[in-house]
């Protein structure tokens, strides 16, 4: 546990001291701000809801989250610090989990920046705070899952940009085109696809429902990809 915490703290420090950290946070807040403006969420006569922000954010996160996690492990390979780290008494699991937690905390901090919109909305109208919090919980769970996937792709290469692409492209395929894929397939493949349909799970939270199915889905995918990342880190030693 102490090792995991130490690695997490160190990674957070690097994230906050790298230009990428600031670019990612600024980019995310800018895009969500623009979403608030163009959807006219604060317009007079509109229902006081952040629904449009919650609907659009997952699309943005397919790009943003892999950018947060891309450096976690790949940078250790590139700089060679993997050698001092894995020859210290730290297990591969502590290493991967520490990296993961750092990226996740960074994501949570970034996400909490958008709470400003909720606070503003509470001053202008009377938003459904409970539903908004459920939606935030959904986005947090999305981060739990996406970040694990991003850490996994980061474990595959020593190049951050490659890690970003490897993380972003599958996530985009899943999120951006999920609806049209579901519309084109039928039968068992359709049912299977619905199980891994991220937007369907997220939609429940956006409607103010905290669904167990959703929690299990995001948590299970996170565990799966963290497990794979540990295996990849282990296997690199064999080369």
């Amino acid at each position: 546990m102490r090792n995991t915490t130490a690695i997490m703290q160190r990674e957070l420090l690097s994230l906050f001291f790298s230009p990428i950290g600031y670019i990612v946070i600024a980019g995310f807040l800018l895009i969500t701000g623009v979403i608030v403006l163009v959807t006219e969420s604060f317009g007079p006569g509109k229902p006081a809801t952040l629904r449009s922000v919650f609907d659009f954010t997952p699309y943005v996160l397919t790009i943003i989250i892999p950018a947060i996690s891309m450096r976690t492990i790949s940078e250790e390979y590139r700089s060679g610090t993997i050698e001092t780290l894995t020859t210290a008494p730290v297990s591969d699991m502590q290493f991967v989990v520490g990296k993961y937690l750092a990226a996740l905390i960074f994501y949570a901090i970034m996400l909490s920046g958008t709470l400003v919109y909720l606070v503003l909305m509470m001053r202008f109208g009377n938003p459904d705070v409970g539903a908004s919090l459920a939606a935030y919980f959904g986005l947090l769970l999305l981060g739990v899952s996406f970040t694990a996937f991003g850490v996994f792709t980061s474990s595959l290469t020593h190049n951050q940009i490659v890690a970003w692409m490897l993380g972003m492209v599958p996530l985009m395929l899943f999120v951006w085109f999920a609806a049209s894929i579901v519309g084109k397939i039928e039968g068992v493949p359709r049912q299977l696809f619905q199980q891994v349909n991220i937007l369907r799970h997220l939609d429940q939270f956006n409607r103010g429902l905290v669904s167990t199915e959703g929690v299990v889905f995001f948590a299970a995918t996170a565990v799966l990809f963290l497990f794979l990342a540990v295996k990849v880190v282990e296997s690199r030693r064999w080369r």
Binding site: T5, Q9, R10, S14, S79, E83, T86, R239
Partner: protein, 321 residues
């Protein structure tokens, strides 16, 4: 303290380390010498649990590097060849982080940082970002890191590479000091380096151990054929013929130098006394007589060159037992 048995490592078809065995006792300081690509880093990475061996076994401080890797890692201080560091961290932050993952509690950690910073002369840069430090300072930060948890075994891969001569001398002195409290294995491709710091040398080439022993032992092995140099005044032919007759002399070469005859005598024995007597007997004035002691450098070059074009196993006895 370090036991290596028939260790081999293949990268695909390339055999980087080919069945080496050696052992290092507690408190020893041993130099691991070999040209670039000999397999030093590969061996060291196996000993520090960074990579597994293909075959064979190794143990450090009584623990097997493969099955008891955590115990080994806790006992070893390792300075990798490339001295990898987190550029964006300050020296103190970095050492704190390293102290934490070595399980040092706060007070012990701060004390350890103080101790290694003084020992490695980095107190003046302790609050600077690592990315701004010169190569010499970075090397010392890496060394300080490897000493932080007071390990029983220190493994240093080419610790003076890239340093300037003053820094090299300071680092060598430091390593010799460290050898009083730690068992040290130090790799290098520069012979004077290991000769200056180590009590024992293991020479590796093309993944095999080609010789090992103390510097004196290794030197004795080459004195088989040494060269004597002398200068006389007299008839060159007579001098050459006279020296050729001495017992043990295999070759005599002469050159003229401002009226003096300079001879280079290749011999199995030290025949300086006989040469002196001969010069008295024949009445040749003599202005120089010395034995050109073969250096370890010659030996190293010879062994490495020899191993390249003949069967490596026949060149030196190695550490076979």
């Amino acid at each position: 303290m370090i036991e290596v048995r028939n260790l081999s490592k293949y990268y695909g078809n390339l055999c980087a380390v080919n069945g080496i065995s050696f052992s290092i006792k507690e408190g020893e300081i041993v130099g691991f010498l070999g040209p670039n690509g000999a397999g030093k880093t590969t061996t060291i990475r196996i000993l520090t649990c960074f990579q597994p061996a293909t075959t064979g076994s190794a143990s450090v401080a009584g623990h097997d590097v493969f099955t008891e890797s955590m115990a080994v890692r806790a006992q070893v201080g390792y300075l990798p060849e490339s001295v990898p560091l987190y550029q964006e961290m300050r020296v103190r932050e970095y050492l704190r982080f390293r102290g934490k993952i070595h399980g040092l509690e706060r007070t012990a950690r701060e004390r350890a940082i103080q101790r290694v910073a003084e020992r490695c002369w980095i107190t003046d840069v302790i609050n600077r970002p690592i990315g701004q430090l010169s190569k010499g300072y970075r090397q010392r930060v890496g060394l300080a890191d490897s000493l932080l948890h007071n390990p029983r075994v220190l493994i240093l891969d080419e610790p003076t590479i890239g340093l300037d001569p003053t820094q090299i001398r300071a680092t060598r002195t430091l390593i010799r000091e460290l050898a009083q409290d730690h068992t040290v294995l130090l790799s290098s491709h520069i012979l004077p380096e290991v000769e200056a710091t180590c009590k024992r040398i293991i020479i590796i080439n093309q993944g095999r151990i080609v010789a090992s022993g103390t510097p004196t032992e290794l030197r004795q092995r080459i004195t088989g054929d040494s060269e004597l140099i002398a200068e006389f005044k007299g008839s060159t032919e007579e001098i050459a013929a006279g020296l050729q007759k001495l017992d043990g002399v295999s070759r005599v070469e002469t050159t003229m130098r401002d009226g003096w005859t300079r001879v280079t005598v290749t011999t199995q024995k030290d025949v300086r006394e006989e040469i002196y007597k001969l010069s008295i007997e024949k009445g040749w004035p003599m202005r120089e007589l010395r034995r050109d002691v073969a250096t370890l450098e010659d030996f190293f070059v010879k062994i490495v060159a020899g191993a390249r074009d003949m069967d490596t196993a026949s060149v030196g006895a190695g550490d076979k037992r």
